[in-house]
Subunit: 383 residues, 5 copies
């Protein structure tokens, strides 16, 4: 029988009537090979056969693991199974992506003879392993995406966070939270059993029918002890997954802080640059006013002197440059708020001095050479 045919059979052969559940029964035949067949049964039939209550077959909680009347009833999200002494029944397996696992992985795993453990141990181990693998797969899907997204978001060179990446991060962060909850629920369901010795013993189905199984083994280990080891093993695997998920959550938080500091830093740098340019514009406006004044259609008596044009033009450009340099050096030295006011009045004084100097110096043009020297000194002193 080919696997592909089997999978096809599995998918279509069983009619889906509402009250009838598709069941996959796996059992070990006499040559210790795992055989399986697909059937469909009514709930009531199953209850009678396994002498369980209808309630037990409802699998109410998303994750549960209980022993009831010599059966182990397991639900791990989509996987609903009942383990008896010799059979493993898997319910409602279709449309859940479980077919491949059932045929290709579960059957060989149950048949493997490496350690001669009773059937229910092997079935339980296969199912718990499948659950941990599922959780691990989900973590493996989420982890690299989050790490990549964070890597590109905390890149110090970027000015603004890429919004599509934020969306990806948010989606994966949500998946991570759900994964954390599922891991926690899985851990809790195992811990509940590990905390009560009675419940562990109930899970050892063989113990009540064939207590001498373990006596044959050389190591003299107990049924319950073996079961505890098995459950503890998967508990610790889940805990390792949980630790990784928690660290990832912490990394997201830390990275968000770094993104905020990055964005804030960028903003401060741009604001400083903006402030420096505003200082320049202010200086140009201040000295441009002189030009506007001379541009008025009013008589200023200097109209005819060709030297005055160059003097005023030079004063405008030079004055702007000097004021700007003072403003920049002020910004560079300290950004203390209390000092700003002092600076501004200091600067105002300097400006009015310059203007007065300008006016005086324009009034008597003959002594122009002398004045210009004095004026240069004045600028040097105040700068």
């Amino acid at each position: 029988m080919f696997v592909a045919d089997l999978l096809l059979l599995l998918r279509y052969s069983v009619a889906t009537t509402s009250r009838v559940h598709p069941v996959c029964v796996l059992y070990l035949n006499k040559s210790f090979l795992c055989t399986f067949f697909f059937t469909e049964k009514k709930k009531t039939e199953l209850c009678q056969e396994l002498s369980l209550q209808a309630r037990d077959l409802r699998f109410q909680h998303s994750t549960s693991l209980t022993a009831r009347n010599n059966c182990i009833i397991i639900r791990m999200e989509t996987l609903k199974a009942i383990v008896t002494l010799n059979n493993l029944l898997v319910f409602d397996f279709r449309g859940m992506g479980l077919e491949r696992w059932l045929v290709l992985e579960l059957a060989p795993q149950l048949a493997s003879q490496t350690y001669s453990l009773p059937f229910e141990f092997r079935a339980l181990e296969a199912i718990l392993q499948h659950r941990v693998n599922t959780l691990q797969t989900r973590l493996n899907e989420v982890e690299p995406v989050i790490l990549d997204t964070l890597e590109s978001l905390v890149d110090p060179k970027i000015l603004s966070a890429d919004r599509s990446k934020l969306h990806v991060l948010l989606q994966n962060s949500k998946s991570l939270s759900e994964l954390e909850t599922d891991i926690q629920v899985f851990k809790d369901s195992l811990l509940k059993i590990l905390d009560e010795d009675e419940m562990i013993e109930e899970l050892c189905l063989t113990k009540w029918t064939d207590p001498r199984v373990f006596e044959e083994s050389s190591l003299g280990i107990d049924h319950a002890e073996e079961m505890e080891l098995l459950l503890e093993n998967y508990y610790m695997q889940a805990q390792e997954l949980g630790n990784t998920a928690r660290e990832l959550k912490g990394l997201i938080d830390d990275s968000e802080s770094v993104i905020f500091i990055n964005l804030d830093s960028h903003r401060n740098v741009m604001m400083r640059l903006n402030l420096q340019l505003t200082m320049g514009t202010f200086s140009l406006s201040l000295f441009g006013l002189i030009g506007v004044a001379f541009g008025m259609n009013l008589e200023s008596t200097f109209e005819e002197d060709p030297k005055v044009f160059w003097l005023v033009t030079g004063f405008m450009f030079l004055g702007s440059g000097l004021i700007w340099r003072r403003l920049l050096s002020f910004l560079g030295r300290h950004l203390e708020p209390t000092l700003v006011i002092h600076f501004i009045f200091h600067t105002l004084l300097f400006i009015f001095n310059c203007q007065i100097a300008n006016v005086f110096f324009l009034v008597d043009t003959p002594s122009l050479e002398k004045k210009s020297e004095r004026w240069n000194k004045m600028i040097i002193l105040s700068v």
Copy 2:
């Protein structure tokens, strides 16, 4: 008897005097149908009938579940009930929206014969189911609103958060907190019983009167064990609700971070654009100053040369453009704060060079062709 009439009867038939409590009594008649009648009783009468203390009928805590003197006293927020061996008494049910539930759901649920459990089990199950349903309903109301609001708030395209949606979010976040507390209180009240085997046994009223009920059942399950399963079932349902609520809280926190990063990113982008325009305005102001200078009513000796107009105008526009391009490329290359100062002095040097070039080049107009070539080279070099 029609349901509508019944509901009407339920609402108006019982006079509300202050000391008299409306009581709805539900019991199974001999044909195992659930019958109910409405009456009103004084507290003292009830105490005597049930041999309880007055204190027990005060239902002090919002959520409690205790066994007292062969009665189970339950309060689940608005629902106050006492379960005896054969009766279920519901108190103060009016105005709480409980009428419909009493008549349409509770009565059939008590009468259902699917599993032949004693009366108190069925009553307790009905009440706990009602409580979990109420909590589930509240979560179902809050969850989609929060998800929708967050969906629209983290939309990367929006510039500013919609304040009305923030209000909705805050309101629902508050409701979610209250729901979380209620779920926790419900879980705690169940856990308190689950942790003590004595209390579980006290809840099994039938055990003390008719201990053989369960012996008849085929499964040989114990009273206390059955009760533990029942309580545990609802405990786990509440835990699943709690997990969902906690995940939702986490999603709100994560989304808030994303909203902040979004708003900050938008701001940085706008600030960069603003800075680019400020650079443009600065460039125009700087070279506009030349125009202002030539606009002064002062003699510059170039007044009559028609070429000078085009040269100066060209220089103003071209100079502005070049300076702006330099500023933009500087911004694009690096935003390091230490480099800004270097850049500015570098630029200042360039500007003064240009101005000097301008002046020299205007002074001797004959050699205009040569100069313009040299000047072009100079610009190319400095850009």
Copy 3:
């Protein structure tokens, strides 16, 4: 005896010497009325009378409840009391606002015969009730202030948070933290007793002297069981207070996030408006430069043509408007940082095109009609 007189008496009759403690003794007289008198005793006298150690009367911890040598020693913050079989002694009650409670509430409560509980039960209940009431009162004071302040702070219309309200919030948030601690300490002190059955039994003073008190009661309830119920009742009341306080804390945190998002949103909106105006100013500066150019005292050969004035003026206003509109539509369409650069060079190209068009079109005025058509097309195309 009038209450007012009594309160006066209470306040002034007892001289306050340092070593002498004012004590209020309450006891039930034979007609089951609560009588009380005020006295002052030395610590050593008290120790001998109650056969306690000096250490027991030091009331070291702010909240404690212990049984010692047939006395219950209670301290609840300001209230220090010792309950014996027949008496309730309250210490250092003056200046603590306890007088009114002692006379008006405690005495009647102790005398009430509703349930015939032993004296120590009633005394303990009165004191615990008083403690819970005090905590409830503090919560009731803090809660509405916080809710009101938050309500006005999260108002989406306000531009900046009212700083005086922030101060109020901070103060009440601090009070809330202290209240939470006090509730927790109260809960812990009750839980310590509830966790140990021995300690509960020690609190039942009557049990050791008159164990048959409860046998007389119809309900057959035990001393210790009754005490457990009593303590548990107040434990749960404290827990409800604690839950409310915790929810309030959560609400403050959530509201702070909303306030931040609100302020950030306002800032983004203002920044967008600012950017739009900066765009306008930039456009006006750019085309104003043309005006400045024609304002220069240089010969442009168009001086005499009256049409040129209207053409250039129109070009300036129309050009500014068009550029601004383009900038605004660019801002509206996308705020992507990478596109800004493309946009700016695109715009620069458009501007230079316009200027070239302008220049060419001014050079040959005869073909003005044709050119203006072509120019209009060019503008339409580039917009």
Copy 4:
């Protein structure tokens, strides 16, 4: 013997060789006075004398309290001590600031006869008291500094946080964290003993040698019970310290939120003011363009009419004022982003209307009176 001499002796008399430990031995002499002498012993000698293992004298953990072979071995950070039945040995006390405490406080405390407790109780109490006092002192140092710093940082009037105060806050916040850890470690070490009755009994050294000590006391209290009370007392004192520290941490967090809201509010207010001034500058630029247009050296045909000067000047100032008022009222009414676009196109329309009105109205000056009326109406309508 003078205390000063003693302290001097204590500091210098004992030579510090590497292998030899300075030991201060305190014991009660027969007249029940606490005598002490200083000596130095080798570790091996000590081990033999006290019959302890070398490992026990290594005091590996910073906080530990264990009973070993009829000795209580205590380490509380710098204080290393061993309590035997009759002696208290303090090790390595020099350079730790312990000398003063040893001489002035510990000795009298051990000798005090107020309650006749065995020696080891008094020694243990003295050491635990010293530890709690040390923790209390550290909290007392940190608390007022933090409260003061926060008080000045949350001051709503300040524009920017004082950076030196932030540094102080950070330092003290770190100290507080370390203090919290130390309190927790102290609590844990006491709790470990309180949780196991055996360990408590081991601490009662007298019990094994002279079990009748307590029988003599009037109160009939047990050794172990007394020890439990003693440890519990210091546990609760530590818990109160821990609560205070935790509240302080919470206050720092709350205050930081308030500081952020304060800074954000200030920024929004400044941004609004900036926006209002940008609006003013924009209005002035817009109408200044008219002035620039008329300043061009181009023929506008109005040059000679003196009324036009006043009309245009008035229009410029009045128009700027009106536009600014409209912009301000727009800002005041609503800051909705969607409305900004509508507003801007509305305003643009208004401006173009005004300009057209301006142009038309300037063209035919005769009908000036009529036009001006119509124009006024238009302005009124559009405002």
Copy 5:
């Protein structure tokens, strides 16, 4: 045999076939010296020799410590070891950096005769010590880097956070999280044993073969008690590491808040400075409009009066200065948003007053002296 040779031998002598594990066996020879040899064994051989199951040799979890069939199976991350009564087997030691430790530290430690503890105690102690040392080393690597980075990041003088340092911080913060998890896992694995007395006894291998070992010792200490002390010692060392790591995490969080406040403060100071300059630019634009008005080619009738030039120029500069001073003092006094509007209309009024004064005063030039006085008063009043 030289150590270097030995290390070389260790590295190359053992061929690495896939199924064969390199094993280092350490044992005490008869002269109580620790001898070791390197060998390679198949898993199945090992299982048979030690009578363990194959599963036990898979070392599935990263950190585990279990007793199985008179062997202690230990895995501490890279270190996989099995302790038997007389041997210590270390597996897969190559390429893990364990060689040096094996030869130089482990061997002498096992041989040391200071306290005559059984072999398994000494082996366990050596391995746990190695694990704690590894964790300590990792903390020592991370701690100074984090402290340095934070120190430079919270520096109040810096305007923007150094992005490369943020990256370093993020990397180390991640390492710290991983370290915290590892410490927690190590603590949990020890705690699991410490919580169950049975498991402690299982670890004492000698107890089952030679129970009289401890009876010989003078101190009469028990096997299990000794083992508990040993494990507890390393548990507490791990806890101290954990506390340090937790404090470091807290410090990072606190520092991030301080960095945010720092950046925000800087931004506010820059914004204030920007606002002050915007105020200046606004003032200059406002009064520059007068200059632009007079620059228009329109007849203002003042063209010929030389005094008017100086008056208007003075008015422009003086007016700008006064308005700016008013704006600055307004900013200094209060930043309340409601007052801004009042201020602006107040200022507008003042400006229009000035302009009206200006216009009136320019109209009749003869009474210029009088007007100027009145005008000065007006300015003084309004300022």
